[in-house]
């Protein structure tokens, strides 16, 4: 599957710290562009492949789905991906809702709901074919940059020497902390209960987002007729929901969600993930680039977390592949500045709007309720504004790096 059999020192163009979905996708995006990559993952690959490792699903925006297509993964993921044809956003007690129909923008599904485990499986499967060195389980002791390169020292004494290190080690990124890059963190006091449910009525490929006073509740359609639930609640309530007996949970969930899909019933286990937002003050350091949650973690309210990370990956991969094609140093400060300039504005906008959405909807102040109903209704009545929102959600707005257009960098 993958090779981690080096004894003391390994040389690669790029060393990626973190072997989650972002780190693995980054590795593939670079490897197809002719860049040699080593990925260090602290998780044991056997454990990470088990069914109960990650219960989350991802709403892959169209642009990100095209990226996986360009990287040669879509064939493997498609069977597990459920197309979203319609998104309905509604406010707690009201029937007013915002209705995004894919026919409004007229180019196929708005996105796909894919279980994280299916994405992970596809990414792991091709590591060997692409010549990616996968070092796992292994812990990073230090990342040390000097003028000539960067060393990723593993706690077992081995070392990876590269031109650039990429921190893809999540919201609490030890790589970011060690580099002295500060991060703004906002706790919401909320956790998300994540699980799959069966329902009496078919989902018809509709994604539902209900804004309840205590936090948003999303039902995302899955292949095979079930839906994935992401239910944000205050920490204590979320923990109670995750722990309560199945019958009580089912009736509580059905009560909150309403009768759109009939009675809802749990399939499999429940996970509980604490929610917080964080944003790094810088995305780059000496021979270091931060991507995905290591740079920015947002509220999963609109399913944009991984999509935002995939956009980092598309931009960084394009810059690095271009530089590699010119024989340039992949860790140069100029290149890293270009990455930061390209990403930070986009992300800042997203972080701010997700935070605003969360705060706006996670409350029950009457004036705000009226305002947000007016807001949702107003957007619904303004087709052009709505299209703009939809294109943003689909990730097809603005000038896109080649991977997000479904092309491999340097081949277009």
């Amino acid at each position: 599957m993958s090779s981690s059999g080096f004894t003391s020192e390994l040389r690669a163009d790029v060393a990626i710290v973190g072997g989650g979905l972002s780190g693995l996708t980054m590795a593939h995006a670079l490897a197809v562009g002719g860049i040699s990559v080593a990925v260090v993952d602290r998780e044991d690959p056997v454990r990470a492949a088990q069914a109960d490792f990650d219960g989350r699903t991802t709403a892959l925006a169209r642009a990100c789905q095209r990226m996986y297509e360009a990287l040669g993964f879509w064939d493997m993921m498609e069977a597990a991906a459920c197309p979203i044809l319609d998104i309905r956003v509604s406010d707690g007690g009201s029937r007013l809702f915002l209705h995004y129909d894919h026919e409004d923008v007229g180019d196929g599904p708005m996105g796909f709901i894919v279980e994280n485990s299916a994405i992970r499986e596809a990414l792991m499967d091709k590591l060997g074919d692409r010549g990616i060195t996968h070092v796992a389980p292994a812990n990073v002791a230090a990342v040390v940059a000097d003028q000539g390169g960067v060393s990723v020292d593993l706690s077992d004494g081995r070392q990876i020497r590269a031109m650039l290190a990429i921190g893809a080690d999540g919201k609490f990124s030890p790589t970011r902390e060690a580099a002295g890059i500060r991060s703004t963190r906002l706790g919401y006091g909320q956790s998300a209960v994540v699980c799959n449910v069966a329902h009496e009525l078919p989902h018809n490929n509709v994604a539902h987002e209900r804004f309840l006073p205590s936090g948003p509740l999303a039902l995302l359609p899955l292949n095979g007729g079930c839906s994935s639930v992401v239910w944000s609640e205050r920490d204590a309530v979320a923990r109670a929901l995750a722990d309560m007996d199945e019958q009580t949970f089912n009736s509580e969930l059905t009560h909150r969600f309403g009768d759109t899909l009939g009675a809802l019933s749990l399939v499999g286990r429940r996970w509980c993930y604490p929610l917080s937002m964080s944003h790094a003050e810088r995305y780059v350091g000496d021979r270091l680039a931060l991507i995905a949650d290591a740079a920015h973690a947002i509220h999963p309210i609109a399913g944009q977390g991984l999509n935002l990370g995939l956009r980092d990956i598309a931009v960084l991969a394009e810059l690095l592949i271009e530089a590699r094609g010119l024989g340039l140093d992949l860790g140069s400060a100029g290149l890293l500045q270009r990455y930061q300039r390209a990403r930070r504005f986009d992300v800042t906008t997203m972080v701010a709007s997700m935070d605003l959405l969360t705060r706006l909807f996670s409350n029950d102040v009457p004036a705000l309720r009226a305002a947000r109903r007016l807001g949702l209704g107003a957007v619904q009545r303004m087709p052009r504004l709505k299209k703009l929102f939809m294109r943003h959600a689909m990730g097809t707005l603005g000038e896109l790096p080649s991977l997000l257009r479904g092309e491999r960098p340097g081949t277009g």
Partner: protein, 259 residues
């Protein structure tokens, strides 16, 4: 890592084309070559566009048929002379693209800085403190010669071109980038860059030594070269990057084949 390093004196029986004033100017700054925000920042910014042109021109040169050329090493099998290599800003990327590079500079300090940096990044490059004339006398042969931002610093262009001609095997390529001698290059390439933006230290360039494309083409043809590619290079203040353009009034690049 084996660093080859020779310290020949640039003296030779041929007349030297080296301008001692310019050499002293660059030597004084040698420790800053790889500081992307330092005195050579504009050269760093200039590197992607010139490397793109170098790769695109050099990768089509004929080479030994057995050479294994893959996508990440398009210059594999080519012996390339980087004349006036400075701190190695082009020698290093050309080496990464697979070329077998000899980097030559008239300043010993530059060669020391280049060697130290190549060592640090783990590249093996044959840097020498010598001159084109000395190499020509030793009958060295190359598949390509790169003279980037050099000819505007050369004391005798005719003699320099003659030496480069001797160093190239027939069918080999000479790639130069330099500054045109126009009113705009005087204003932008010299005064603005040296005195207004302070991109490069004052006195870096002597505008009178700038060569226009017609003069350079004429000189090259007298020494057995045929120009095959010519392009302007412009600075885009919006993106802060250089790119290839039709406008050759300030910077331009020529690629010529040794007949």
């Amino acid at each position: 890592m084996v660093q080859q390093r020779t310290n020949e004196t640039p003296a030779s029986k041929r007349a030297s084309t080296i301008d001692p004033v310019d050499v002293a100017q660059f030597s004084a700054l040698s420790e800053h070559w790889w500081d992307e925000a330092g005195p050579f920042a504009p050269l760093h910014r200039f590197t992607p566009v010139r490397m793109g042109f170098i790769r695109d021109c050099l990768q089509d040169l004929p080479r030994a048929p057995a050479t294994e050329v893959d996508r990440s090493r398009p210059l594999a099998g080519l012996r390339v002379l980087d004349i006036g290599c400075g701190g190695g800003l082009l020698s290093e990327p050309m080496t990464r693209l697979g070329a077998d590079v000899v980097g030559v500079d008239a300043s010993g300090e530059n060669i020391e800085a280049a060697c130290a940096h190549a060592d640090g990044v783990g590249l093996s490059i044959d840097y020498r403190h010598t001159s084109a004339e000395t190499l020509a006398e030793a009958s060295e042969q190359f598949d390509a010669v790169v003279a980037s931002e050099v000819i505007e610093h050369v004391a005798d262009l005719d003699a320099f071109t003659a030496a480069l001609s001797d160093l190239l095997r027939p069918g080999g390529g000479l790639l130069t980038t330099t500054l045109n001698r126009t009113l705009r290059s005087l204003i932008l390439g010299k005064f603005a860059a040296e005195y207004v933006f302070r991109w490069v230290p004052a006195g870096t360039h002597d505008w009178r030594k700038f060569v226009n494309p017609a003069e350079l083409t004429e000189t090259l043809s007298r020494h057995g070269f045929q120009v095959s590619e010519e392009t302007g290079i412009s600075y885009d203040p919006m993106t802060g990057e250089f790119r290839l353009t039709k406008d050759d009034a300030v910077n331009y690049a020529l690629f010529a084949i040794r007949i």
